[in-house]
């Protein structure tokens, strides 16, 4: 019978270097050279960068104690930390346990916990979370921030079965939720219902209008399978009249990105290119003209 002590070298290294840990120049190996001490030290620093780096480095680290260190990070105040913690967890057996716990959070009323659960579920990427996220996203008990995070999670998971719920919440009274849903729809492979975004070009919220304009161009991008330009007249109206330069910029971009017919869009874009008070709108309208379908 022979016994291997796999961890001896690392134990010694940690003891020698203490907090600073083991540093290696030259070719680094993906997901290696992490340690519980290094993770603990990074978390103690509260540096987002250090936490991200250390968790990435410990991708393959076997360390039961580490889950006690990392799991609480799903409630860190910084989104990037929540995200990298979920990524680390996704690579471990505790992912199912955390997944179940996060789903459970979508059945309780605390918006902070629900928001963080959505962020974790989005990173875990399990398609089984889509129904729970979809249902919670339309539940007004949660804050707009939490529901926007649920939309973001659905976009991250990217499953087409999230589309109906995301389209439904486009009628939400909360701008953040609508904007989040529009952003999520753009991430779903094969999503082509650009007309769902068109009515939001006249939303009262600037961010929603900007997201709607962006969605039309992104979803109907020239070269995608099975798309035709749509919403052209609405985008032209937005370009001509929207008080926000940011929205007008995105409308101009979308008209070009979808290759709108020159017969419909050239005049409006030329007017914007020469007369819009914002120089960025003018330049983007000029670029869009070069992309029109002639």
């Amino acid at each position: 019978m022979k016994t291997y002590n796999i961890g001896t070298k690392l134990v010694l290294s940690v003891a020698l270097f203490g907090m600073g840990g083991v540093f290696a120049a030259g070719t680094a190996q993906a997901g290696h050279n992490g340690s519980p001490a290094l993770i603990k030290s990074a978390i103690a620093s509260n540096s987002v960068d250090a936490i991200e780096a250390e968790l990435e480095r410990s991708e393959y680290l076997v360390c039961a104690a580490c889950s006690d260190l990392v799991t609480p990070l799903v409630d860190h105040l910084d989104y990037r930390v929540r995200k990298v913690a979920a990524w680390w967890i996704a690579r471990r057996g505790i992912n199912k346990q955390v997944y179940v716990a996060m789903l459970g959070r979508l059945s309780q009323p605390d918006s902070f916990l629900a928001r963080n659960a959505a962020d974790v579920l989005g990173e875990l990427g399990f398609s089984g979370a889509v129904p729970a996220l979809s249902a919670a996203m339309s539940n007004p008990i949660y804050s707009a921030e939490a529901r926007a995070a649920m939309a973001r999670a659905l976009g991250s998971i990217g499953r087409p079965d999230a589309v109906p719920a995301l389209v439904d919440v486009l009628a939400s009274p909360d701008p953040a939720v609508k904007a989040g849903a529009l952003s999520a729809l753009r991430q779903i492979q094969g999503f082509r219902q650009a007309d769902a975004a068109t009515p939001l070009l006249t939303d009262s919220d600037e961010q929603v209008r900007a997201e709607a304009a962006l969605t039309l161009g992104a979803v109907l991008r020239t070269g995608k399978t099975g798309v035709q330009p749509a919403g052209v007249s609405q985008l032209l109206a937005t370009l001509a009249t929207d008080p926000s330069a940011d929205v007008r910029k995105k409308a101009a971009w979308s008209l070009g990105e979808m290759g709108a017919p020159a017969s419909m869009a050239a005049t409006g874009l030329q007017a914007a290119a020469s007369q819009d008070p914002n120089p960025a709108v003018r330049s983007l309208a000029h670029i869009a003209i070069s992309k029109l379908t002639r």
Binding site: A30, N46, A53, E59, L61, I94, F126, A252
Partner: protein, 724 residues
């Protein structure tokens, strides 16, 4: 208000004063700046600790600005170029990079105007006129540089394939940055070929080519090397990092700038550092590209600066960037430098920030001289405002939509200089992808997603040519008559749609010239085997030879293991051929016994933090727990000596080096299946113990799976990967 660094910066006091006391040999300018440099431009960014990863391009802190300083001294006149006006608001902008036009009259920069925005490209004249936004949309556009022919080259997260998501790095999780170009007015956007991981930090070379930093990431490879391409994004190849860079160099090289060049060499100054935690700052390295990567050499001109990610010491600090000034031979640089621990964890603990200021640095005397520092900002990327020569554009012919790859002699390879003549019968071409397809982790090995395009016969003259989908990263293996990879270069290759890439060999000796007889190349390309099929078809519908693409373990491998192997290898340690070992996790004192088992049941791993139940007993038995065990506190006890195989029975990426393949002893596959010709002697398992050996197709699938990294999940079973 501009202020010089104060005495609180001990390092500066220790070294800067000494530097200031040195005489200036560069013609009487301020602090070592040549007298003909009347003005400099630089970027002021709000300090941060969240941009340590050298590939990060999305870090955002509002309040950045582009400024000029005339003359370049602390009492010079500082003017803000990116001023908010009634027509345009820069108040909340962050700016990540910029470049001066060839005539030094205009600037292009990448700015994110608000937290809801993306980084987009803008240009304006240095007198503040003609502000243009050049890109828009839902993707980031970063690292713009002017390139010849009235164009701007940049990196972007926008996918060149409208129907395919941009690659999402499986390791670092971010949407990758890839190359693109536009005209100066933003029209004619053209997106280039993609790598599986990021490409960042481009720089124009005097010969019109473009240098950039590429994250090489395949298996255990994980570094940022310098590569180069034509300005039309063709002809990508290595420049520096893999060879001399491995001789005491650093993990990553970035922000390269040209120092000088002649007919045989281009000399660069570049930052050399760890991939992470160093705020993209590190050593200053002088790199001589010479004629090829094989001949490239570097010199560390800041030997005290750490090349890894350890905190830098007071008085040593780290350099953010460098630009040569004066006569190149004098080796004086305009640099950004910060003192003390330029390392994000230490800074985070201290609730502090690195303070990059602008200095001159003499590589010969190893001394700095302070020029300007505003403690409210990182003062970085300083450039003399002066015209520079515009090289001729560089390009390659583009025709069609496929990428054509050809080699004149596959035996001409430095990956293995001892390939037996006649041993290579085919070239295997493999598509690469990553986490963007919905698979968060592909298996217990460290390879990206892979899918087979096909295998192309080597011609009688040892050449080959094939067409693969354009703009998609691919990988190449030379395979023998047993269909096993003989040469397997651990990088991804990219080619533009319509690009033809003809090599002398397969990673041939790049220090020598390849002579091509007239007409040979054309004939070779005309005979290229077409492996370019639409993306939706690049998934296995059956797993027979010629049809297989991805190799999902449970669907393509397990049926053969169940049929041929699982009767004996059933997890019963009392049977011969079922080695057994017990792992004790010393952090939790939990234990689990693993016994060789080639059945297809999922095996929950209950020791260590990588415990999980994603994989079958067969996968864990063959792949081993090596990657899952990592390096931590586990103790392994064998039932019999040799029962524990640290690397399992598979060498991920190399079937021929895998014990399981050596035991199964594959039969000849090419030119025709011949069961009498075996790869490893005469003994064939399990025939020698009365079992039924695998068929040629079954063996091929296992070989292919291992050669492609030994992953469990692929496109074919990704639905399973997406559910717990």
């Amino acid at each position: 208000m501009a202020t010089l660094r104060t005495a609180a910066k001990i390092g500066l006091v220790a070294m800067g004063i000494a530097a200031g006391a040195c005489s200036n040999s560069n013609g009487g300018g301020t602090g070592g700046i040549p007298a003909d440099v009347k003005s400099i431009m630089f970027l002021q960014r709000v300090a941060r600790t969240d941009t340590g990863n050298v590939f990060d391009y999305t870090s955002y802190e509002p309040g950045a600005r582009l400024v000029t300083l005339s003359p370049p001294s602390a009492d010079g006149k500082l003017e803000v170029l990116t001023k908010t006006t009634s027509a345009f608001n820069f108040d909340s902008a962050d700016i990540m990079s910029y470049d001066l036009s060839f005539d030094a009259k205009a600037v292009v920069f990448s700015a994110k105007l608000t937290s809801n925005d993306r980084f987009h490209l803008y240009s304006m004249n240095l007198d503040g006129t003609d502000l243009k936004q050049l890109t828009s949309g839902d993707d980031d556009y970063v690292y713009p540089i002017y390139v010849p022919g009235q164009k701007i080259l940049f990196m972007t997260s926008k996918s060149v394939e409208p129907d395919a998501s941009q690659f999402r790095d499986e390791y670092e999780r971010q949407t990758t940055a890839q190359v693109g170009t536009i005209n100066l007015d933003g029209t004619a956007e053209t997106l280039g070929p993609r790598n599986v991981s990021h490409r960042v930090s481009p720089a124009l070379l005097p010969n019109g080519r473009v240098l950039y930093t590429e994250w090489r990431h395949m298996g255990m490879v994980n570094d940022g090397h310098l590569r180069m391409m034509n300005e039309d994004m063709t002809g990508m190849r290595e420049a520096f990092g893999g060879e001399d860079g491995g001789n005491g160099g650093t993990n990553s090289y970035l922000k390269a700038r040209v120092v000088q060049s002649d007919a045989s060499n281009i000399q660069l100054i570049a930052i050399g550092t760890s991939r992470d935690r160093t705020l993209q700052a590190g050593k200053l390295l002088l790199v001589n590209l010479n004629a090829s990567e094989e001949l490239s050499k570097f010199t560390d001109i800041t030997p005290l600066v750490p090349g890894g990610r350890e905190p830098s010491a007071l008085g040593v600090g780290r350099f953010y960037d460098a630009e040569v000034i004066g006569a190149p031979g004098d080796q004086n640089f305009l640099v950004s430098w910060a003192d003390g621990p330029v390392e994000s964890e230490i800074l985070g603990m201290a609730n502090s920030n690195a303070n990059f200021g602008i200095y001159t640095y003499s590589a010969k005397s190893k001394q700095r001289s302070p020029i300007f520092d505003d403690p409210a900002f990182w003062d970085v990327l300083a450039r003399p405002i002066k015209a520079r020569a515009e090289p001729a554009p560089t390009s390659s012919p583009i025709s069609g939509t496929s990428t054509t790859l050809a080699a004149l002699n596959v035996y001409d390879s430095t990956v293995d200089r001892n390939i037996a003549p006649g041993s290579i019968v085919k070239v295997r071409l493999i598509e690469g992808f990553s986490g963007e397809e919905g698979i968060r982790t592909f298996g217990s090995t460290e390879f990206d997603g892979q899918s087979l395009y096909g295998e192309v016969a080597v011609n009688p003259d040892n050449s080959f040519a094939a067409k693969v989908p354009g703009n998609v990263p691919f990988h190449m293996q030379l395979i023998d008559k047993f269909a096993m990879s003989v040469v397997n270069e651990s990088i991804w290759i990219s080619g533009r749609a319509g690009e033809q890439r003809v090599c002398g060999g397969c990673h041939e000796d790049r220090a020598k010239q390849t002579a091509i007889a007239p007409g040979v190349q054309e004939a070779l390309l005309r005979g290229a085997v077409d492996l370019d099929t639409p993306r939706p078809t690049r998934v296995s519908t059956d797993y027979s030879y010629g049809a297989i693409k991805g190799v999902p373990w449970d669907l393509a491998i397990q049926p053969a293991l169940t049929a041929r192997c699982a009767t004996c290898h059933d997890g019963d340690a009392s049977k011969p051929g079922n080695p057994s070992y017990t792992i004790m996790d010393r952090t939790t004192m939990t234990m689990q016994t693993f016994t060789f088992d080639l059945r297809g049941d999922k095996l929950p791993v209950t020791v260590g933090e990588k415990m999980g139940g994603d994989f079958t007993a067969s996968y864990i038995s063959l792949m081993g727990l090596g990657e899952m065990l990592g390096e931590d506190l586990v103790e392994i006890t064998e039932l019999h000596p040799g029962d524990y195989q640290p690397n399992g029975y598979v060498s991920a990426g190399s079937a021929k080096d895998s014990k399981v393949i050596q035991m199964l002893n594959p039969m000849q596959r090419f030119p025709a299946v011949d069961t009498n010709v075996r790869a490893f002697g005469a003994t064939v398992h399990p025939t020698e113990v009365g079992g039924q050996g695998m068929t040629a197709d079954e063996l091929y699938r296992l070989i292919l799976s291992i050669d492609m990294g030994g992953q469990y999940f692929s496109r074919e079973n990704k639905t399973e990967a997406a559910n717990p």
